[in-house]
Symmetry: C2
Subunit: 357 residues, 2 copies
């Protein structure tokens, strides 16, 4: 298999079906692998690595496990440095492969490290969190946080393969599942009204099953494959994330990291308010979204005094140009518009609304 | 202008002709630039930045100068970190452009920093050293040294444009020119016998003029454009570099960095010996090359006791697979073969020959 260009990803590389492990096994046999590394964090090392080792027990190469600390607060240059060192010391060459076994932090940092080690070695994402499966592991965005800004350093680089096995979800706490579900809610809101009806029609997360996961995976890939470098339609996936990322960075800066999904849920609520104020999102739909988020996600406790700090993080967001704040907003549930410039005052009011609701 | 895929580079992006500054001016006007950064080192900041500022005085954006220390020993993660910080603090967004104004260190590290900042901002290389013009600034290899290994971290990413103006060479010392000329000698040896005849027929570097530079630039681009990711023919450009890089890393590790060209010249000599021993390079041509290198490049003073350390660096070289040492060797002057596996004993003997000659 040739080294891939950084923006190509074909369907055959997404391993979703029942025979996915057999297909991965075949892939590895074709790939001329020199050494096979597995990046884990302290949690996936304990709970997921044994499963992987069992699944890959017939692969001829032994698995070399690398381990980092868990959590977004470790998705930084220091940890990347540590992984680069481990690869170097283990003599990883250009034919080495890195399997990223974990949630979004692992696939983000592992993809970045692999893409920059010896000008790029191949990597395979095996997401073990729901957030990883439906979002972080897909689409080729890799990176690390820097100076408390989310994903400030990174590249676009597609993994050689992505294997999604919902069996790993049994290793997770309920809060982790809810965090990942926030991205599925986002996918529904920006383009899958049927999925939204299902979600909104149920009391809890009964809708969340293997079919719903595969549907969400395919929805995201449908967008990222058409626009890998985020020139246009891929921007729609940032719905809820302009404010969401800023809130997440704000808490990270205070040394109290949030789950990504918690921040995104708050971002979805605030950006729905903006959609109602600035586009034609109906009051009814906006209220539906607001009620859904407040029902399922614990309200964050930032105060009015924190709003200006949150705004500062937003101004530094990658998706802005020349200091103007660009948003993705809903015209209606299922219909989205991007590159909407929003004034600071409107953002402040949306955040105030969140605090007061 | 769209963000480029990392492996594409068209001729129109190479600015070589007399009207090159006017063309760069036009390019910048088309490019929707938010902020224009110029990466310099302490030398190019003083000697080259004033020339650039004068040449670009009619560009509407002001130039924001960034400055790092000069020398290969600063082409590391600490310096990259420093540049990322400067870009962040200056509010560089995705539409910012980084002009790399300097030698190979600047274009290598600047390209790496730009390629990884916010998942990639555009950069323009304006090499000011001969080494930069005929080699480092061309071909899309960017990177930094890590744990004393040359270019261990990096990516393949093409600059948006490369401007080559030999006028900058007036700012250089003779030793710097000689260093860059080593890559021109390599280009001649691996594929341009006419150029080699010219070089070898003269007492000094009289052959080194603008035409010779342009010829060398086009020779390298002819190879890298056909094989950007170094799957095959691009490997030929590594002639002299397997041993050369190891020698360079060895001296860097001792805190006595060499000029890249000095290490490459020694590498060319040693790998010509290997070419004679292992391929059919004639004794006559090998002796020609050896005499040429010894006439123009000061012999390095490493000893027999250093050979095993130099070999260790070679084993970690990016171009090797599973610990086997892969070389590019000459069949004859102008004809090259790559992926030749060489035994450690043969390499040791070539290094011994160098020490004794």
């Amino acid at each position: 298999m040739q080294h891939l260009k950084n923006t190509e990803m074909t369907d055959s590389m997404i391993l979703l079906a029942d025979n996915q492990w057999a297909r991965l096994y075949e892939l590895l046999a074709e790939m001329q692998v020199s050494k096979l590394f597995v990046l884990t964090d302290v949690n996936t090392s304990k709970h997921c690595f044994p499963i992987l080792r069992e699944r890959l027990k017939d692969v001829q190469k032994s698995l070399i496990k690398l381990e980092i600390q868990a959590g977004e607060e470790h998705k930084n240059l220091e940890t990347a440095n540590n992984i680069w060192e481990q690869l170097t010391e283990a003599g990883a060459d250009r034919k080495a492969i890195l399997i990223n076994l974990g949630g979004g932090v692992i696939t983000d940092i592992g993809g970045f490290v692999a893409s920059t080690y010896k000008r790029g070695i191949r990597f395979i994402n095996i997401p073990t969190s729901l957030m990883g499966m439906v979002d972080a592991a897909l689409g080729g965005k890799c990176g690390i946080d820097f100076l408390n800004y989310k994903n400030l350093l990174g590249v676009f680089q597609q993994p050689t393969s992505i294997l999604i096995d919902p069996a790993f979800l049994n290793t997770l706490e309920a809060q982790e599942i809810k965090s990942g579900a926030a991205e599925m809610v986002k996918h529904a809101l920006i383009g899958d009204t049927d999925a939204w009806q299902e979600m909104n029609g149920e009391v809890g997360f009964e809708w969340l099953n293997t079919n719903a996961i595969h549907r969400s995976v395919k929805f995201k890939l449908g967008i990222t494959q058409r626009d890998p470098l985020e020139q246009d339609r891929r921007k729609s996936l940032n719905f809820g994330h302009t404010i969401g990322h800023a809130i997440e960075s704000f808490y990270l800066g205070k040394g109290k990291p949030l789950r990504h999904g918690s921040a995104v849920a708050a971002g979805i609520l605030c950006e729905s308010i903006l959609s109602k104020e600035l586009l034609q999102l109906s009051n009814l739909e906006c209220t539906q979204i607001e009620a859904y988020i407040l029902r399922h996600y614990q309200k964050l406790s930032f105060s009015k005094a924190d709003i200006s700090s949150i705004l500062d993080f937003m101004i530094q967001d990658k998706k802005n140009r020349e200091g103007r704040l660009q948003f993705v907003l809903l015209k209606s549930i299922g219909e989205v518009v991007w590159d909407i410039e929003v004034k600071e005052q409107d953002i402040k009011e949306a955040l105030m609304h969140y605090i007061d609701c």
